[in-house]
Amino acid sequence: MNTIIQNTLAFSAVGLAVLFLAKKYVLPTKKKSNKACGGDDGCGCH
């Protein structure tokens, strides 16, 4: 039982992480509106 919960949690976390990375880097980035700066670029832009 415990193993099942642990595995489910772990693998859904891995799945989410893969999804996040795929959305960020692989899938074509949807066009962002030109306002503000580079957007969510992980660099903190100003």
């Binding site: 193993t3 919960i5 949690l9 772990a10 660099c43 903190g44």
Partner: protein
Amino acid sequence: MSKQINVALIGNPNTGKTSVFNALTGLNQKVGNYPGITVEKKEGICKLPRGVKAHIIDLPGTYSLNASSLDENVVIELLLNKNGKDYPDVAIVVSDVENLKRNLLLFTQIKDLEIPTILVINMSDRMAYKGISLDIAHLERELKTKIALVSTRKNKGIEQIRELIIKHKELSVEPCLNSSTIDESYFDNLKKAFPNQLLYKLWLVITQDVNFGKTDRKNYEAVEDFKTKSKTDLKRLQQKETIKRYQFINETLKKGQTIDLKSAKDLRIKLDRILTHKVWGYLIFGLILLLMFQAIYDWSSVPMDFIDSSFASLSEWVKETLPEGAFTNLLAEGIISGLGGIVIFIPQIAFLFLFISILEESGYMSRVVFLMDRIMRRFGLSGKSVVPLISGTACAIPAIMATRNIESWKERLITILVTPFTTCSARLPVYLIIIALVIPEGRILGLSYQALTLMLLYLIGFGTAVGSAWILNKIMGLKSKSFFVVEMPNYKLPLFKNVVLTVLEKTKAFVFGAGKIILAISIVLWFLASYGPGDNFNNAESIITEKYASENLTKEELHQKIESQKLEHSYIGIAGHAIEPAIRPLGYDWKIGIAIVSSFAAREVFVGTLATIYSVGSDEEETIKNRMAGEVNPILGGPLFNFASGISLLLFYAFAMQCMSTLAIVKRETNSWKWPIYQLVIMSTFAYIVALVAYQVLI
């Protein structure tokens, strides 16, 4: 329904537009004491009494409405496009009390577009110091406007701006200069051809070289035909216009402004003479850099070690407390180690930005721009490239966007291409941890070798940027050099609030922006390191037990051997071994190889990746730094991170183009994939070669 008033903040660079914007909207946009901080328009809402809302737009600074660069275009496009959704109901021209004369040129131009205009005279706190006094009533009369004397620093006059916005309907729209006086007959013709159009607006459209993408072209197409004058004639008329405007402004200021030079105590000139001196200027700058890097090192080592060991204990605690299983392992080995790999760098990043923002706020950064400009000219670039290169020390992305105020396309392109060489804050984590591992701790003249190495890396980055600019310049044959005026803002005591805000903002962006990526990558890596295909992985236990059956190993040793067998044959181990031949000559093992590959997402990922790989299957409580120090070179023996491989890694990170976000921005700014791909390939190949040579020479 509440009514919304569109308000545009316009003014010369560095007059405090963004400060006024922040004061009105309560937002915190970046403010900095050198021109060109804002390159795109930013929007915000200011709540006024009676449910009225003002929609405020902060614009890039512009000297006049005769645009020459992209960011200036933003302003002109907005003002000429009467049907645009952002077309201002009222324009606020922000001027700086110390440069009123120059600032008013733009003001009179906007006034002549017959837009209701408020004049904000900012930095009034400097008046006493400079011996300036103003006759506001006289100025309001002559300039046919309402004036708010403001100091955003002292929080004075903001209320008055709000009141003027509410009463914007009462503002006069009478122009300052009768445009017909520029050339009577020409303007008469113009008036006949387009009876319903505003003359000055027509004139602006005719004389602009730039293309107004969004402006209502149809209306002006006919005007194109009307171009009865040659380009040089138009230029001449434009000059005449400027002269007329200055005559008017001088006349107005003669009575409206008195400057008592005796009461002005000007330290600035003396300071400037030293700080921009041909020799002293550079020496002082070098000294400031040295102190900065030394401080980053000295101040951050204690919090850094504390964070490192806290995360190690936390990971250990999780493993012991939670029930055994995949998720517990993921938490302890993947998530916590990965997060540790980012949190550990908060102190240094915070200190780096603390220094940068103090330098910017105090006005010293503009002197640095001036010093660098002198060097850049030798390499064929104008000073306009300096601002992007310097702001690249924070991050290449805003730096690349800052190239928008370079008029010459080629020069802009070159700057975009070389900017990623400047040492951005994402490299700092990698540099710091490797330097700590491979550079000895001694000191010379109170400066540690480690801090000196760090400074050297920054210089290498900047030097490479300038050097490659020079090469590109030769290849592309840059002809037109941008005209560059270094604006020397006054020295100011950095405002505590601005400094703290910048530091918080940047650190937050680092943690949450890069943090998300690092976390996700750590989770994926944990999975790839904890699972594997085939017998070698799945039967690791029996394989190893059999292999070492005769050797009488302790339980612990045996366990370690099993875990390492598993890791070697996990998915990541297999991938790592596949790329190993390519990086072995550089002195790295497959684990570093994986860290390098994942760093192509973002450089900061490096440390988190290693932390995750090292902690999978390890039971001891150990800090990241100690784990790295304990790694053994699988072929040569001895520490994996030694002087040769360490230097090789440092150089690789200095030169390689490892940042997806930067590539994406370059694509956006150059409008083609060609340039980012060139950047990626050329920079990374160069990095590889340099790292290879360094290792082979040093080993």
